[in-house]
Amino acid sequence: MTDTQASGWDVERARLTVDALARLPGALLPILHALQDEFGYVDDAAIPLITDALNLSRAEVIGVLHFYHDFRTTPSGRHTLQLCRAEACQSMGADALVQHVEERLGVAMGETTEDGAVTLRDVYCLGNCALSPAVMLDGRLHGRVTSERIDAILAAAVETTVEAPAGSPR
């Protein structure tokens, strides 16, 4: 669900994760979420584990993986910053905030900084519309965000969590 990026891919851990959830009715989304929480993305090598456990075709799993905006198939940065682009935040200057962040980090929305520290992602509403503009950093919500505040929030995060432990909780 959120995005503190975790450590490297490990097929045995992935198998445990898949098997633990495989018996749930409609298990595919819970499994993809769990894999992404654990590894930061869903590795291609996880797909055979899923097709075996759920008796699905590779095409079915890949179809689902690509349908949902949340799921990623490549690792993202150590931190993920989601900036709300929806109407309430637009009305309070979200576009200018996005531009500020893109310039500050030197990457565009959807990209990861060269040092792998931060990935920027669009989001359409974080439910904080009365305190627009809103952003979410690694699952933590911030409201009434100004350029100064976003700089401070990013600086604090990049400084304190250089080594995020594997599968760290949100």
């Binding site: 949902y68 905006h69 949340d70 989601q82 309430a88 359409y124 509403c125 519309c129 009365a130 009434r144």
Partner: protein, 522 residues
């Protein structure tokens, strides 16, 4: 004697520092040898005041708004813990913004500790279920029907009628319990946050409402499909479900009765279309969120092909108060065919944004001006979008429209999930119309052409209009395109995207005919 101080755990409150405030109050009190218990309540909905700290006094709970952690020592010096000081807002329940509301669905939100079942019980929690346990399924459904409750997720379909279909759905050849209650907590509409606030501030109300629904129609399993953008709500709800189960309110023998009902919480994955109920069911089954053709209705063939009630969070969370106080009580609020209350979410460029639960019938003006106090930027208000991304943009001249399903439709708009987003005079409605089309293009499930292709064309056409290319021809083309999308889309994403576009064209034509400032390269 211990003093109780309330610091919300609501995600909005936390987004502006409530956690630091709570920590700081505890630390300062400890350093001063004061006995303070900190309760992490939900939000009262006066979100512009967050972090809103409340201190319990003999007279009631006294509020302090916009509290910053570094101010705590000075506030304590000034007598905050006795409810004194310059920053005192008075009794929270007397603040006009709050006092003028009719809180039914949100009666406990912000008042109690959301994860204390005892607090919940002490504030009327499970009184609705207790009454329901003495009724037949048919009687419960009748009560909900007579309350006039209509679905709060957007379509406004009468909840009791939907339940009646599921109650009557044949189960003869099916294994026991094969009906489902599905709570739509996808809350995809931008500008809305009532579902989130309710789940974070009073989760047992939702659990109770789903339990009553299960007992009414004969379903033993419920699912809450919660959007992944709400990690706080996920944690709170998951914890509340575990508590309810442990205390015998979920599981076999609900509250000591012969009924079984249990719940699971599932996360969405960032697809707006999964708020549409059939796409949601596909997603719960582990598939792509693609619209299902109707018929069959989900009430007949829903989750895993079984009869399923799909209701919004607010619809289900309103059921307990209807059962507790009776259909006639709920029905006595509202106007025309819109009965009861609507939790309005006031957001965007507004001074006092928040959740305002009001009987149907108030005007948009009373909300955006009376409660909202005008724009946050102090500039003139120019537009209000009502009902989320598929809702109309209204000019200020239409603010006397009442809040009511039928009145909104008559004004070529919709109430949706009750969101209102305010814009000042810097807004460009041509860009907002373009955004509506672009959003539809990104979120389209791809099943039908008018939506999938039409929205992409829509963006291109609006771009040409903005650029001043063949305006007359392109405006005509846009009109044709929106007519096609309205008439030929399979679901309301493609079918309603024309609403924001057309309202922008109709009420703000000047934004589509701006003189183009020539740029350097032609």
């Amino acid at each position: 004697m211990t003093t109780r101080a309330y610091v919300p755990r609501d995600a909005s409150a936390r987004s502006v520092g409530a956690d630091d405030v709570a920590v700081r109050i505890a630390a300062e009190a400890h350093a001063r040898g004061l006995d303070v218990t900190i309760v992490r309540n939900g939000s009262r909905g006066m979100i512009w005041l967050e972090p809103l700290v409340e201190v319990e006094t003999i007279a009631g709970r006294v509020g302090f708004g916009h509290v910053a952690p570094e101010e705590i020592p000075a506030l304590l010096d000034a007598g905050m813990l006795e409810g004194r000081g310059e920053r005192r807002l008075g009794l929270v329940e007397n603040i006009p913004y709050f006092a003028k509301q009719q809180r039914l669905t949100f009666a406990r939100c912000g008042v109690i500790d959301p994860l204390s079942l005892d607090d919940y019980l002490a504030h009327g929690g499970y009184a609705g279920l207790t009454r329901a346990l003495g009724m037949t399924g048919d009687e419960i459904v009748t009560e909900v029907t007579e309350s006039g409750l209509r679905g709060r997720g957007g379509a406004g379909f009468p909840t009791g009628i939907k339940w009646r279909t599921v109650l009557g759905a044949p189960t003869a050849q099916m294994e026991a319990g094969q009906k489902y209650i599905v709570c739509n907590a996808d809350e995809g509409d931008s500008g809305t946050f009532a579902d989130r606030m309710l789940i974070e501030g009073d989760p047992f109300t939702l659990i109770e409402g789903m339990t009553i629904a299960g007992i009414a129609v004969g379903a033993t399993q419920g699912y809450v499909y919660l959007r992944s953008e709400y990690p706080d709500a996920f944690r709170t709800l998951t914890e509340a479900v575990a508590i309810a189960r442990e205390r015998g309110y979920l599981g076999t023998s609900v509250a000591g009765s012969a009924h079984t009902f249990d719940l699971a919480v599932r996360l969405g994955a960032g697809a707006y279309i999964c708020g549409e109920e059939t796409a949601l069911l596909e997603s719960l089954e582990g598939k792509k969120g693609v619209i299902r053709p109707r018929p069959p209705l989900p009430a007949i063939s829903g989750l895993f092909g079984k009869p399923t009630v799909v209701n919004n969070v607010l619809s289900l969370a309103t059921v307990p108060v209807i059962l507790e106080r009776g259909a006639a009580h709920y029905q006595s609020f509202g106007m025309g065919r819109s009965r009861g209350t609507q939790p309005v979410q006031l957001a965007g460029n507004v001074k006092r944004g928040g959740l305002i639960e009001l009987a149907f019938g108030v005007t948009l003006r009373e909300v955006v001006e009376g409660f909202g106090g005008g724009t946050a930027t102090g500039r003139p208000m120019r537009a209000v979008q009502v009902g989320g991304p598929l809702g109309a943009y209204f000019p200020t001249s239409m603010l006397d429209t009442p809040l009511d399903y039928e009145a909104m439709a008559a004004a070529s708009g919709l109430l949706g999930h009750g969101g209102m987003v305010v814009f000042d005079d810097t807004v460009d409605l041509a860009r907002q119309a373009r955004f509506a089309m672009a959003f539809c293009a990104v979120e389209s499930c791809g099943k039908c052409t008018p939506c999938r292709i039409g929205s992409t064309r829509g963006v291109e056409v609006i771009d040409r209009i903005i650029a001043g290319e063949n305006r007359t021809a392109n405006l005509e083309l846009l009109d044709d395109l929106t007519t096609l999308m309205t008439g030929a889309s399979l679901c309301a994403l493609g079918g309603l995207t024309p609403i924001p576009v057309r309202s922008a064209l109709q009420h703000f034509p000047e934004d589509f005919s701006r003189t183009i400032v020539p740029t350097v390269t032609a």
